[in-house]
Structure formats: structure tokens, C-alpha cells
Symmetry: C2
Subunit: 212 residues, 2 copies
DNA sequence: TAGATTGTTAATCGATTAACAATC
DNA sequence: TAGATTGTTAATCGATTAACAATC
């Protein structure tokens, strides 16, 4: 596998989509596929798909195409899905619980190893087979289990302080659902901001500017 | 305001973020801001900000900068946030309920006017002041109230069929949380795919390929 | 071998950044 | 007026697409 730093975010963001479609093809018993067939399925150009894949190595066979299962597994490996990493959820309100329940973390390279919340009304309840813990236990838990990702489902106002607290506990990766932008100033930090509000607003823009 | 078609998606996706930061500044009583100050706040270049804003008109004053309140309101107008459009939620499971409760639709250009679900266990319950309706009532409701956006919080398998059903009811805009890609083949359709699984996988990639 | 399709280089396109004249 | 900062044009950079030689 080629060295995978200096692969652009544009490419990285397409990988999960390739993976999903290959998974589907695999389930449907498709053995072989060409970049051209894939391209019409995905709505991309064949050129782009070949270009993207060749960031990581030559997975195809000239004159034949790609083996679906092999390509699927290679992309899974590139995404690091079988290298399971511990994650914690902070904030077990509506959204936090939904994220925990809705997604299969295990299939995506993570294990949800603890859930924390501030509110006495929620602490002790069960979310996805986890007893919700008090925020007071955060330090103890992290020092013992060393999770590497924090899923943040907390109010905007609490985010900045919490990020600092988590950094001190050696957590530098954040899946952030709060309406707060975790700063890019710190080189060590890896953030994926899921700004649902922003997403809805772009939809508003597009609907209200479309000719109809 | 300049004609706003042919504005690139890259620009559109930055607008809500500008809006959020301006909202914050406004709340903090900041009256005036230069593109340069904004740029360091947002982690962009001043050039890009000016370029972006000038897709829609000249909102600044040379030698002075931008008036925070005016710029905030202009971007809100561009995003169409005060032009309220009816939306329905289909799928009131964990995720659907969380989305309904978590987001203030009203501040983002929409009103959640009905919630639908398939499951008898959920129908009749209250979600965000709405009685959850049976899917059987979908046609009647839409023909009467003409909602323009559907928020889809349903399993992957049900998506394709549902999209067709909704199109027949004159709904062509979708905020899609299912792990299914709503096709771009139909020109009339406006989709915002929120693929949380994909988002988590890109995080996996980045964490597992970072030098540490 | 002939046909097909990849891997890869070159050309194009679009988006970002830099520069600067206009102007408040 | 002088200083500051925009609006806008030009230069750069990166990403996508096209083309084609390599090769299965």
C-alpha cells in the first residue's frame, strides 16, 4: 500500500461511499466490476474512481476490472475498520442516545466503551448496553482505559471547556455534534464536525433559490 | 442582490458557518468587523471571505469593514431562513426523534408540520408537539398541506420506495439520514445526504493514518 | 492474438489566494 | 487628506477529466 498521508480530503471522503456500494454489490453476489460500471452506479467519472483508488495502490487487473470482494476489503483496510479503537460518548441526551443506538460503531473501526452525562436524571440509565456514568468519573475512566475518540453530543456552551478537559486525558479525536467549531489551531487534533443545523440551512438555500 | 444560481456549493456550504459566527459576534455586542478579523476567527483567508460575500453583493464599506448585524441579516436572507417552508419527518425512531427535538427548524427556514412512522408502537405518541401519524395518512396530509421537504430517518431498505412515493406527492427536497444515496439522476430533486456512518469512517481513516 | 480495461501522465477546469485599484 | 479595507481582477494552486500506453 502506498504511503497514505498527502491523500486529499476530497478522496478520503469518497472512500466510505465506495465501501458502501461495494458492500452492496458483494451482497448481491457481483464478483467483478469495471471502473466504468462503478462510475455509473456512483454518479462519478470512471477516471476519478481509478485516480482515487490509485492513491492507495493498484487493486485492479488490466483488461478485466476489479474483484468486488478484494476491493471492498482493501478499502476497509485503508479506512482502518478492523483496527478497533475505543471511543466514549459525552452527552446522552436525545441526540447522543440516537447516535449510540443508530450506528454500528464496531463495523466502522470503533467500540463505544463508555457513556457520560452531566444530568442526574440520566446517569445510571442504560444506553446501548452501557450504564451512563457521571462526568465526575471521566478522568478515572480515561486514565484506565485510554479511549482515543470522543463523540460530543453536548450543548454548544459546554464544548470548549470539555475539549480541553479531554485533551488533558490524551483524547485528540472528536466527532462533534455540538454547534461549536472545534478549533483547527491545535495540530494534534482530528475533528469531524457534524453540523446538522448548517446542513439544514444549505437545504434552505438550495430550495429557496431553485427555479420552480 | 446578485443572481444566486451559479454560486458554487463550496461557497454555499460556508454560508451557515459565517452566519453562526456573526450571530455569536452580534450576541457579544460587536458592531463592526473586517474580513481580516473574521478570517482569523474562522480559519479562512480574508480574500476568500470577501470573494464569497461578493457572490451575493457588496455588503461592506471600503475602509471600514462590515457591520455585523447587517451582514448577519443579509446572510440569513440569502439562506432564506425567514421564508418558512413546511417539512415533514418520516421515521420517528431514535434518530428521527432526536433530529426533531434537537434542532430548531424555525430558525433555519422550516416548520416541522407532521411526523410519520410505520410502527404501531410509535404511532400516536408525541414527538415535538406532534402526534405521530400512520404512514397511511401520508397522501391525505400532503395533498392537504403541501409540505416541500421530507426529513428521512428510515432504514436504508425503505428509502428508494419512499422517495418515489413522496415525489408523487410533490415533495422533491430531502434531508436524508438513511444509509441510502438518493439518486442525482432526477433534475428536480434537491438532496442533502447526512451519512453519519461515512462521517465516522473518515474519522477512522484519519486517526489510523496520523503519525502518533 | 485481439479486446478490454487498468494505471498513469497530460490537459482542463474550478476554487483559492494574492494583489491592487477604488473608495469610504 | 491619509489610512484602512473593500470589491474585483489576475495568478496560483489543486482537483477533475481526458487520453493513451501498458498489460492482462
Amino acid at each position: 500500500m502506498a504511503r497514505s498521508s498527502n491523500v486529499s480530503m476530497a478522496v478520503i471522503r469518497r472512500l466510505p461511499r465506495y465501501y458502501r456500494f461495494l458492500d452492496e454489490l458483494l451482497k448481491n453476489g457481483v464478483v467483478r466490476i469495471s471502473s466504468n460500471e462503478l462510475s455509473s452506479l456512483l454518479g462519478l467519472t470512471a477516471s476519478q474512481i481509478r485516480q482515487d483508488l490509485n492513491c492507495f495502490g493498484g487493486f485492479g487487473q488490466q483488461g478485466y476490472g476489479y474483484l468486488v470482494e478484494q476491493l471492498h476489503d482493501e478499502i476497509g483496510k485503508i479506512l482502518g475498520l478492523s483496527e478497533i479503537t475505543d471511543a466514549i460518548l459525552v452527552g446522552a441526551g436525545n441526540l447522543g442516545r440516537a447516535v449510540a443506538n443508530h450506528l454500528d460503531f464496531g463495523k466502522r473501526g470503533f467500540r463505544l466503551s463508555a457513556v457520560f452525562d452531566h444530568s442526574p436524571a440520566i446517569i445510571g440509565k442504560t444506553v446501548k448496553d452501557q450504564q451512563v456514568r457521571s462526568m465526575d468519573e471521566l478522568e478515572e475512566f480515561c486514565n484506565k482505559h485510554h479511549p482515543k475518540l470522543a463523540v460530543l453530543c453536548i450543548p454548544k456552551g459546554a464544548a470548549a471547556e470539555l475539549v480541553d478537559r479531554l485533551k488533558a486525558l490524551d483524547i485528540f479525536a472528536f466527532w462533534n455534534f455540538s454547534h461549536y467549531d472545534i478549533g483547527d489551531d491545535d495540530e494534534r487534533v482530528i475533528v469531524e464536525n457534524v453540523h446538522l443545523g448548517d446542513s439544514l440551512m444549505t437545504l434552505s438555500y438550495r430550495m429557496k433559490h431553485s427555479e420552480s
